[in-house]
Structure formats: structure tokens, C-alpha cells
């Protein structure tokens, strides 16, 4: 290891300071420009709100809109290893790229449809377990309990560990001979499983790791939701003689919904796009058996150099997620309106 010296710290701080300084200067210049244009020259009524919004707008344009536009441009290009700097853009390239997503295997054998299906299974199984596990633990923690703070801290540990480290540690735990998982199985009298060489078991292994990683987040969010429910409702229900299950169904669930729904949407989008766990544990293998859409996208672009194709492919994935969010919002909004009426 190269030791960290004061010299390095100072150098790092100077670098960071310089960048922040430049950013601040940029903002000041931008604001002065906006002040003279909007207020002095155009004499706009809303010049102040515009000025206040401008830095954020510029940041969004630079960090989201421009890269997105560039990605679309690449989707309509023939950029590849041999045309890395001198690629051409045209409608025919775009059509070709988008058709390629559906008509040929994305990697070697695995097709788009299969990957989509696998991604849906991966997302559904994960999110269902995240929500159920998180809810279960949150309800437990919401009761009067001795040493609650200790339990809460212990239960959030998977969330606090950097994903990379957690994934690599789990990879070793799934080792056929030396891993903890097979050791447990053997103790329980089961035959050891080839977790990382059999594609089906490898898929189960990555799902287990991701469930383990995702439960604490749901637990914390749902615990917050539970704590905001006034105990008066439960008192009233108990007076009316409602059972525990009735209380859960008629008080806890409806009042938890405003927290549960956005958390689930976030969970779905994150899990759908979760690259780290799979890539670090199996790299999509063995035999492309654990690849999901995003890992295959990564491979297509960075291992197979198919930049134009990859950009088109990523656009397709984006459209799928947009569709999901739209449908989900319509359903949940519809439910909200029905309840309101």
C-alpha cells in the first residue's frame, strides 16, 4: 500500500478547491449575465425566479439532457471499434441498430426476450422479498422492544456496507467447498450446491445476495412510515374489538401506502438496473445464465465495442422503464381517486 501523506491530502484539497472555485465563478458569471439580460435588457417580470433557477437548469442540461441527446445520436450511428472516432450518423444505421436488438442474440446465445424475461423475474422476486422482509422487520421494530436501537443498527448493516465489498464477500461465501452457504447446507444434511458453475443456481445466488442487500432500505423507509401512523387509530380499533390482522389490513396498510408506493417504484427501477451485484459475483456467467438487460448492455458496449447498437439498446431499456412507471402511476393514481371518491 502507498501510505497517505499530508502532501497528498493538501494536493487533493487544492484540486477540489480549485474545481469548486471555478464552479462558483461560473455561477456568478452566469447570474450576472442573466441579471443583465433578463432584468436590465428584457425587463422580464419573472427575472428573479429565472435567475434562481438558471444554475440548476444549466446543470440538468449538462448532466442529463446533453448526454441523453448524445446517446440518441449514437443510437443512429455506426460507431464501433473500427469507427470509433470517424463514425457516421444516419437514419438507416438507427433502424438497423434498433432491429438488431430484437432480431439477433444480444450477446452470444441469449436473446433480448429471454433477457427481458429474466430481468422481470429478477426484479419481481427481489422487490417482493424486499417489501415483505422490510415490512416484517419494520413491524417488529415498531413494537416496544428492549434494545431496539441495537437491533435496528444490526439490521441496517447490509445497507451500510459498500455494495462492491458485500458482493465480493458473498461471492466467496458461495464457493463450493469453502463457502459458508454450502457449509450450512451440509450441516443441515443437504448435498452441497455448485452455486457459481451451474447457471440456474448462480441466478439463485445473485438473487439471494440482492435480497439481503435490499431489505434494510425497505425496512428503514417503512419503519418511518409506521412511526408516522397515530396510535389513536389502533386504540380506537381495539376498543371496537378489531383483531391484529384486521388492524393491519384496515389501518396499517392504507396509511402506509403513501410511503410504500414510491419506495416500491424506486425499488423496481433500482433492481431492474442493478449492475453491481450480478457483475461482481458472476459477470453474467456461467454461460450467460445470470445476465440481465443492463449487464448484457454493458458487455455489448464495453466488451464487444458495439457502441451504436448499445446506445439503441439502452434507449429500448429506458422506454421499458418509462412504460412501467407510467402504467404504475396510472394504476396507483386511479386507486387514489377511487378512494377519494
Amino acid at each position: 500500500m502507498i501510505p497517505l501523506t499530508w502532501d497528498m491530502v493538501v494536493q487533493g484539497l487544492v484540486e477540489a478547491g480549485r474545481i469548486l472555485g471555478l464552479l462558483a465563478v461560473g455561477v456568478v458569471v452566469l447570474e450576472l449575465f442573466a441579471y443583465f439580460v433578463f432584468h436590465r435588457w428584457l425587463k422580464l417580470k419573472h427575472s428573479l425566479p429565472l435567475m434562481l433557477m438558471l444554475p440548476a437548469l444549466v446543470a440538468v442540461a449538462a448532466l442529463i439532457i446533453y448526454p441523453f441527446g448524445f446517446n440518441l445520436k449514437l443510437a443512429f450511428s455506426n460507431m464501433s471499434m473500427y469507427r470509433f472516432k470517424n463514425f457516421s450518423v444516419g437514419l438507416s444505421y438507427g433502424i438497423e441498430n434498433f432491429l438488431d436488438v430484437f432480431r439477433a442474440p444480444v450477446l452470444q446465445n441469449v436473446t433480448f426476450l429471454k433477457l427481458l424475461l429474466r430481468t422481470v423475474v429478477w426484479t419481481a422476486v427481489n422487490v417482493v422479498f424486499h417489501v415483505l422482509g422490510g415490512l416484517f422487520l419494520a413491524i417488529l421494530l415498531n413494537r416496544p422492544l428492549k434494545g431496539k436501537a441495537i437491533y435496528r443498527t444490526l439490521l441496517t448493516i447490509p445497507w451500510a456496507i459498500p455494495q462492491v465489498i458485500a458482493a465480493l464477500a458473498w461471492k466467496n461465501e458461495f464457493h463450493y467447498q469453502y463457502g459458508f452457504v454450502n457449509a450450512m447446507l451440509k450441516q443441515l444434511g443437504f448435498a452441497p450446491v455448485q452455486w457459481l458453475s451451474d447457471p440456474r443456481w448462480a441466478f439463485v445466488a445473485v438473487i439471494i445476495v440482492n435480497i439481503w442487500l435490499g431489505i434494510p432500505f425497505m425496512m428503514v423507509i417503512l419503519l418511518g412510515g409506521l412511526q408516522s401512523i397515530s396510535p389513536e387509530y389502533y386504540d380506537a380499533a381495539q376498543i371496537d374489538g378489531a383483531s391484529g390482522w384486521q388492524q393491519f389490513r384496515s389501518i396499517t396498510m392504507p396509511l402506509l401506502k403513501p410511503v410504500l408506493i414510491p419506495a416500491t417504484v424506486l425499488g423496481v427501477v433500482w433492481t431492474f438496473n442493478n449492475f453491481n451485484v450480478i457483475y461482481l459475483i458472476t459477470r453474467g456467467g456461467p454461460m450467460e445464465g445470470t445476465d440481465i438487460l443492463v449487464t448484457s448492455l454493458y458487455k455489448a458496449v464495453f466488451e464487444f465495442y458495439r457502441y451504436g447498437f448499445g446506445a439503441a439498446y439502452s434507449t429500448v431499456i429506458l422506454i421499458i422503464l418509462l412504460l412501467f412507471t407510467w402504467v404504475h402511476l396510472r394504476i396507483t393514481r386511479g386507486m387514489g381517486e377511487a378512494e377519494g371518491a
Binding site: 500500500m1 465563478v25 456568478v28 470509433f84 463450493y176 452455486w195 457459481l196 456467467g285 465495442y305
Partner: protein, 420 residues
Amino acid sequence: MKRAFVLTLTSLLLVALLLPVGAFAQKKVTFTLWTKEGEVAGGALEDIVALSKEFIKTRPGLTMEIVSYGVEDLRQNFQAAAFAGQGPDLLWTVSDHAGPFVAMEIIKPVDDIFGAEFLEGFVRPGLEVVELEGKTWGVPISVGNHLMLLYNKKLLPEAPQNTDEMIKVGQELTVDVDNDGMPDQYGLVYNLNEPFFFAPWLGGFGGWPLDGVTPTLDTPGMVGALQFVHDLKFVHKIVPVECDYDAADSLFKEGKAAMLVNGDWSIAEYQTPEVKANVELGIARIPMISETGLWPAPMTSGIYFMIPDYLDDEKVAIAKEFVEFISSDEVQVLFLEKHMRLPATATALAHPSISTDPLLKGSADQMVVGKPMPTVPEMRAAWDAIRPNQEAVMAGKMTAEAAAKAMQEAAEKLIREMNK
């Protein structure tokens, strides 16, 4: 009044922000080197940092930044950086990156920068690896990077000469001490599913992944080699059921494996005092394939300097001086003696320690039967075609014949897409 206040405040803020920036902004040149050497205690990276400090001593105003990446990250990050037209000033990386980098036009040929006389100082095979389109695209730092047989003399006094012997002693040394159905000591360990570790066997069965730029994967050599590695696991049972690089490395270090196939980069790690307690290291050629009478042919390549295409003349001049500094006999011998890397210059390669040190001698002896790793971009397709099918054979889910056929088809498809 109000306006004057705002204006004063704004200008004060501006001055305050500019001042610290100006105070720190000295006229300096920063030269950035990206290296594939990892942060291992006592590893090559520490020496690179030390050498860079020595290098800047005589060059006031110059700072050198050494950034370490994994081999794959280095390739990807450099591609992204080069696309944006800015990034590191010099690369310290493996030869197989030359193929894609040349195709992408993101590195410079080195012939004109260094001149023929300087390049002639390097051993021919070292330069050949990075010759593409009639030009040289890198300056060798060390040659080899090849796999070899490492064995623990405490378990196995003499290395086996052929694979029949290897299997025989392997079976004797694969022992289940506690009778739990799983061996606690293995005859042979290596990264079973990694194509690079499969290449020596392929060579030993007379196959090779590419002929020029054409994939040659559906061959009797491939079938024979796949069957061989399959049998090591399923028939002879001298390798663990699952074994990746880290597992192999740990088993060997703990003295729980008699033989290990690993590369020259790893030799120094097995020489540390903690490991020496369990391992008395010996190095030999990977045993001759009894069926064919051929030596397994590990891929040889090396570590190279590559110069980004976007580099301006000022930085090229610095890069040239640094490369010449590292190519000096003094530095080459340092890497030889401390890290067991075979030097790239003819003069350093004649150093007496290569013929006297048994480990270095073993490494050099293995390199003789190695074959240069193809640097053409098509090799990438071959690797990617081999991997999933090799995994399938090693999982017992595909026959060697079917895997060889699938590899060939996959490689052809990948190359078609690459060239599209």
C-alpha cells in the same frame, strides 16, 4: 444604494473566489501515468511511484501522477478518455490492449518517437507482439506475462514431466483428510473457467484460437484440450470442483495444493515469509501432453508503454524521457530481481541472475515454449467465444465437440458484428 450594495458584494465574492485559486495555481506540468499494476504490498506499483519521484527530481516544475487500474478498467477508462480527447499521458499496460487501441486510432506508433536504434535494444519477440499494420505501437517494459507450473516442493519434490505423470501424482496428492467427501489437499489448482488459463492446454493439443485474424476454434486440438480439462475435473478428480484465481492462489499459499498454474506476475507473492512457511516453491514447464508429445504453450505477451494519440509534443518529450529511464538496465534489473519480471532489453536479459536463480530459470524455460498472444482485435472475439462454452464444459453441461463448434460459430458472429 441597494444596487451599489449588491454590486460591491458580488465583486467582493468574485475576488474572494479567485484569490485562493490564483494563489495555488503555479505554473506546473502534471504528467499522468495509468498503470495496470495493482496496489499489492511490496508490489511493482510501489516501485513505479518511487521511480517517478526519482524521475521528477531532476525536472523542476514537473509532477507525476500514478493512477492504478485493473487491466479491464484501464482499457475501458482509457477508451472513454481518448474519445473525449483527454486523459492520461502514458499507459503502462498489457500488450493485448494494442489491438483495439490501434483499431480505434487512440494510440500513436512509437517508431518515430524513439527511433530505430533505441527500439533495436529490445528483444525481437517483445517488439513483435505489438507490431501491427507495419508499425510498432508500444515499448516493452517486461516480457513474459506467461503461465507456468508452480509446485510446492514440500509436497512434490520433482515436477512431473508429462501429463500422465501429473495425473498420477495429482491423484496421490489429492487427499480427503477428514473423510467428509471433499478433498482437503489437491494435486493441481488453477483458474479453471478462465480462457487465458486454458490456452496452454490448447497449444499442447496443437490448437490455437486464431490463424491470423480467422478464428480456428472448431478443431481437433480444441476438442482434445477441452476433453482434457474436463477429465481433470470429472474423471481424474485432481482439481477442485470450483476453482477461480483467488481460490487457487489461497490453496497454494496455504500449502493445500501441490501444483498451481499461474503467471510470472505472481512468483514474488509466493516468496514472502508467511507463504514460505507452507510452500517451498519450484517452477517448471507445464508438463508435456502425453497424448501429443507437445509442450503446453502458454500465451506470452508482456507489459508495454503505449502513448495516447492526443498527446502534444511537450508531453511526448516527457513520455520519451520516462520510457527511456524505465528501459535503462538499472531499472530493468530492479524489476527482474525484485518482482521476477523478465526484462525486455537484450542487455538486461543477459543478466547472470536469470541463469543462476532456479525460479527465474524455470520461468525463462517455460517462456521458450510459449507462443505470442495475438494482439489483433479479433482475439477479443475469440476470448469471448471461448468463455461461456468452456464454462459449459467445466460444468459438465456440454460435450467438448459441441463446445468447440459453438465457440467457432460465436467467434465468427462476434467478428462479423465487430467489423460491421
